[in-house]
Amino acid sequence: MPEILKVNNLSKSFGKVRAVHDLSFKVDQGEILGIIGPNGAGKTTLFNLISGEIKPDAGEVIFNGKDVAITQTFKKCRMGIARTYQIPRPFLNMTILENLLVGSIYGAGKSYKESKKQCVRILEKTGLSAKSGALVGTLPLLDRKRLELAKALATNPVLLLVDEVAGGLTEGEVEEFLRIIHGVRKEGVTVLWVEHIVMAMTKGPDRLLVMNFGRRLFVGRPDEAFNSPDVQKIYLGDED
């Protein structure tokens, strides 16, 4: 499988805090790469760097063979990089369908008619069909999380960045998101998935990237990752 994303020596500091520090990794097309690490390890900053909302101090983000480290966010979206936010950020005064249309018309560059067809399909896939005309302000958390994912899918992503979509959900609900994300991958989409829930991270990703203090601590299969002494140390503490 060809590489879709290559991050080379990426760094970003906020004042004296090195949020992401000399980080490098690769992702193959169609792969699900889980990203874990303690709070403050730099996972969300890494997403912001890849999606373009913040610019790196140093390093490269190579997407489809092109360095996009300083490309504008809306252009990156049109190139095929979509993201979800940890705390859902829907357009509150718009209906669910309208929320999706934004991504489909502007991100995927489709006509209004095509967009509507595509959005109806995505609403079915994410279990939101029945509420497509509802204003988002009235939705409960689970539906907002579904919508967050659906919005990103509407942009026709090549690379999907999922930021803690399963946080705060029941086990059954997490399973539902696992199914959706595996379905998305089957269509050829590459997924980077930040999550704290261990069940999601053992069943979801092909490989795990473990981050600590902005650095790469470990990359490998999920079972190897959770058995690695280094990883256990940062989560459970040192015995000495």
């Binding site: 999606s51 809306f74 357009f91 509150l92 005064n93 718009m94 249309l101 934004v102 005309g133 942009t155």
Partner: protein, 312 residues
């Protein structure tokens, strides 16, 4: 669905009323009608910026002053027909909007508000120190003396109808979808592929153009223009009042707001000094009891819209 025929009938009756007004109404009533039309136009344009594109401008008076002065200078000094001069006013306003967009678009929120206000104030000072436009004494727009009241009224009516139609169509278009997304969460809209700068730029230019045109018609009626009045903040304060009591971010809000504002202004014109207190009191009352404005609150309670912009 019966909602659509009711809406259409309502709009047709309203238009018929406005179009025939010069035939049966008194000169005074036509003049009030003209003011309503112009304030609907100006307020719709301010609403397009503040209510839909997240640009709270306090500098709309820069386009009002510029539109008015373009009319005065080109009709008086160059003998250009007055209605053509009004059109020039619109183009000059767009030109200014392009020039200042480089700097004001770097500002957000309250900084944008202050930035636009400062530019308008600076223009006022420039014009009051400029001999070509007779300093602070102001100019009488003589070619406008002989215009018929109904001619000016129809110019105002055309602007009013087309600005409301424009806002309505714009909101129904794909650009409108992007604007609503930007209003709700600009960063999230950008990660979905929306080019925020482009959307805001289009709205800013449109608003400048139509505000400049409306200012021209306004001064065809007023006949006299003076820098500190033309470039004064009170224009935008009035628009703010209109849009807030009518309902910010609604197509109908500026219409209702402008009617209330112009009628109040007529009734209160005898009580100079008290009128501002009354306007302020009404604004505070509306903010307390109907924070989305009269139209906005009504829509929330009944779901009825004269100009529905939702996608089904």
């Amino acid at each position: 669905m019966t909602a659509k025929p009711i809406r259409l009938t309502f709009i047709v009756i309203l238009l018929a009323f406005l179009v025939t007004m010069p035939l049966w109404a008194s000169r005074y009533a036509v003049n009030v009608g003209l003011l309503v039309c112009l304030y609907v136009t100006l307020a719709s344009m301010w609403n397009l910026l503040a209510g839909y594109s997240g640009m709270v401008s306090l500098g709309q008076q820069m386009f009002i002053g510029l539109g008015g002065y373009t009319l005065a200078v080109s009709s008086m000094y160059f003998g250009v027909p007055v209605y053509l001069s009004v059109l020039f006013g619109g183009f000059i306003s767009v030109f200014l909007a392009v020039l200042i967009s480089v700097s004001v678009f770097r500002m957000k929120g309250v900084y944008f508000a202050i930035g636009t206000w400062v530019i308008a104030e600076a223009l006022g000072i420039c014009f009051s120190n400029w001999g070509y436009v007779k300093y602070g004494m102001g100019m009488f727009i003589q070619p406008a003396y002989k215009l018929s009241m109904s001619g000016v009224y129809y110019a105002g009516l055309i602007l009013c109808v087309s600005s409301v139609a424009l806002v309505f169509l714009l909101l129904r278009s794909n650009l409108g979808l992007a604007l609503m997304a930007i209003r709700d969460d600009d960063q999230a809209s950008e990660t979905l592929g929306v080019n925020i700068f482009r959307c805001k730029f289009i709205c800013f230019l449109l608003s400048a153009f139509i505000t400049g045109l409306a200012a021209g018609v306004l001064y065809l009626n007023a006949i006299f223009i003076q820098p500190f009045e033309a470039f004064g903040i009170s224009w935008t304060v009035n628009l703010l009042f209109i849009v807030i009591i009518g309902g910010i971010g609604t197509v109908e809000g500026p219409i209702l707001g402008a009617i209330i504002f112009v009628l109040l202004q007529q009734f209160l014109s005898e009580y100079v000094g008290y009128n501002l207190i009354i306007f302020g009191g009404i604004t505070i009352g509306v903010i307390f009891f109907a924070p989305r404005g009269l139209v906005g609150t009504l829509q929330m309670k009944t779901g009825w819209e004269l100009f529905p912009v939702r996608r089904q």
